[in-house]
């Protein structure tokens, strides 16, 4: 059984280091501190106002950021791929580098510009003598949304640029010769051919936004509690491990569920 020799070690490693801890989380979520095994932690968490609010915030932030990334990413990728300009290649390369940046870096950079003591507010207070600047949105959900869109847009652009490079320029030229203006070419030729890439990038960003922690933490937005933030506060600050694990399980379920949905949809689309 030489095949088994090759298969066994990775399976065991995967089990010990990944699946077993995951199992522990799930088990903890059904073991309330009062002892025994019950679904009481789930009932408690689902009944709590904080959880429902966090769930709502997480979902709308993730959906909003994904839509923003898709729109912005599609527009930027179009320009980079189809409008020849000097340095276009360099921009495409930079996008690859951007993907390797940690997410909190973007938030930090935004803090320098729009933060309470940031450049934009500094210019305003210097000019008007007011005590506070007008840019206070960074600690609101909108600040988180801006940071997530800024950070995750390249994740949409990468597959899009790959898809665009596959489109035969002769198709675009023939479309133009048939009387189609730039807008119609984008809508009727480029967009349909880029749909699988758009779906891939969008679902990746959606899942990553659902689980994003660093950006929310670094904006310092006290009022913005997402599911990962809730896990953190329950576990680290309240030491309520069963509750933290319940939220974590819900978070995993949403992510895996969305991923499964994406697989079904993309298979239907023939991608």
């Amino acid at each position: 059984m030489p095949a088994l020799v090759w298969v066994l070690p990775p399976v065991v490693l995967l089990g010990v280091f990944f699946l077993y801890p995951l199992f522990l989380v799930v088990r903890q979520s059904v073991q309330p501190d009062t002892g025994g095994t019950s679904l009481q932690p789930y009932a408690d968490v689902f009944a709590s106002e904080a959880f429902r609010e966090a769930l709502g915030t997480t979902v709308w932030l993730a959906l909003g950021a994904t839509i923003g990334c898709l729109v912005l990413g599609f527009a930027l990728a179009l320009v980079i791929a189809f409008v020849p300009f000097p340095g276009g290649k360099a921009v495409a390369k930079f996008i690859d580098v951007f993907l390797s940046f940690p997410s909190f870096l973007i938030t930090l950079a935004l803090l320098f510009i729009y933060g309470t003591k940031g450049m934009a507010n500094g210019v305003w207070t210097d000019a008007t003598g007011a005590a506070d600047g007008p840019f206070q949105f960074l600690t609101t959900p909108w600040g988180v949304l801006l940071a997530e869109i800024t950070y995750f847009t390249p994740f949409v652009m990468r597959p899009l640029l790959a898809a665009f490079s596959q489109i035969d320029t002769a198709q675009l030229e023939v479309a133009a010769s048939l009387g189609a203006g730039p807008g119609r070419i984008v809508r009727r030729v480029i967009l349909p051919e880029a749909l699988p890439a758009l779906a891939a990038g969008g679902s990746l960003v959606l899942v990553m936004c659902l689980n994003e922690f660093g950006i929310v933490l670094f904006t310092g937005a006290k009022g913005v509690t997402t599911l990962p933030m809730l896990v953190y506060s329950e576990a680290m600050l309240e030491s309520d491990y069963p509750a933290a694990c319940v939220v974590a399980v819900v978070n995993i379920a949403i992510s895996v569920g969305l991923y499964g949905l994406y697989r079904v949809v993309s298979r239907r689309a023939g991608a």
Binding site: E173, A176, S177, L178, G179
Partner: protein, 351 residues
């Protein structure tokens, strides 16, 4: 809408590299003009200047009476067919064909009828619901032609439309294109190709291009029977190009032989090039006999091609398949009729 194409001293340059040099050319309404030349000769650039994908550095392009030089491609109303078909992969055949009409805001009720008509004309009516990936190369090219014709263009641009097809399909499609041209006598066609057979078969006029310049323009018969330059002679058909010296009216000398040929206005003593088509060269003695040694024999099925060394130059002869082809090194005699030889006007230089 009957409209021709006119190039008025059109030049195109990429940086300092001129790819089309002051092209003057007119395609009459309803005419098929073949742009024939090797790759890099500027023929595709000329076509792209009509379509609007390259902007001339100088000169004007006219479609009919309309100066289109500054118009974007989608306002020019030309049909275009390219080598790699470029069908829209996510659309069914019928939607591919309807694309141009929708873009040009043709009345919705009119579109299905015109789609059917265009597909009927190219013999693809029964494939309307297929996707391009379900079609062979030849079928895809038919759909591409239907798509271009559906917008009823006055001008059709064909950019090496048969080059991606295999030889057998190509001759079939060539006949199809000739039929389409007969059915659409008002459409002017600019046909870019490097294949002389396609040009000779389809074109009313052939423009021979080389190194960014127009070398020659004329009917296929003119260019084939009385080429003006060596380039035309060798690119339109095969040619023996013999370096000769004019010896008075109606006579030239080649190697040691004295040959009869129409010398036109060439003065005695001038050096010139005599063009003789290989298939017009016969074996054995006769008028304008040349004797030499066989350097190479190629059997091509229906014909034998003989290369015969005469006075240091190789003379090609295409003769009907020989029962007993000569051996290498044999001494043989070739001949050709005086009226089959053309003294190239472009190559005459005073001795």
């Amino acid at each position: 809408m009957s409209s021709g194409i006119r190039f008025d001293r059109v030049s195109v340059a990429y940086g300092r590299h001129t790819v089309l040099d002051a092209l003057d050319l007119t395609v009459e309404p309803g005419e098929v003009m073949a742009l024939l030349g090797p790759s890099g000769s500027g023929k595709t650039t000329a076509l792209r200047a009509v379509a609007g994908f390259v902007r001339p550095a100088s000169g004007r392009v006219f479609i009919g009476e309309r100066d289109v030089t500054g118009l974007p491609p989608h306002r020019r109303g030309v049909g275009m067919v390219v080598q790699q078909y470029a069908l829209f992969p996510h659309m069914r055949v019928e939607d591919n064909v309807a694309f141009g009409m929708k873009a040009q805001k043709v009345a919705k009720a009119e579109i299905p009828g015109r789609v059917a008509e265009a597909l009927e004309m190219t013999g693809m009516a029964s494939y309307a619901k297929r996707f391009p990936r379900e079609l062979s190369g030849g079928q895809q090219q038919r759909v591409a032609i239907a798509r271009a014709l559906a917008i009823r263009p006055g001008v059709l641009l064909l950019d090496e439309p048969l080059s991606a097809l295999d030889a057998q399909l190509r001759s079939g499609m060539l006949a199809e294109l000739a039929r389409l041209h007969r059915e659409l006598p008002d459409v002017s066609i600019l046909y870019v190709t490097h294949d002389q057979v396609e040009a000779l078969t389809l074109a009313d006029q052939i423009a021979v291009m080389d190194r960014a310049r127009l070398q020659d323009c004329g009917t296929p018969q003119e260019l084939y029977r009385t080429p003006r330059t060596e380039f035309t002679a060798s690119f339109v058909g095969n040619a023996n190009l013999l370096a000769v010296t004019v010896r008075g009216t109606g006579a030239v000398s080649f190697a040691d032989a004295e040959l009869k040929a129409d010398t036109g206005d060439a003065v005695s003593g001038a050096t010139a090039t005599l063009c003789v088509r290989p298939h017009l060269v016969g074996l054995g003695d006769g008028p304008n006999a040349l004797t030499g040694r066989v350097a190479e024999v190629q059997w091509r099925g229906a014909t034998h091609r003989l290369y015969v060394e005469v006075g240091g130059e190789r003379v090609k002869a295409d003769v009907r398949e020989l029962r007993k082809p000569p051996a290498l090194g044999d001494e043989i005699t070739l001949h050709f009729a005086p009226e089959d030889a053309v003294l190239l006007a472009g190559g005459v230089t005073d001795g």
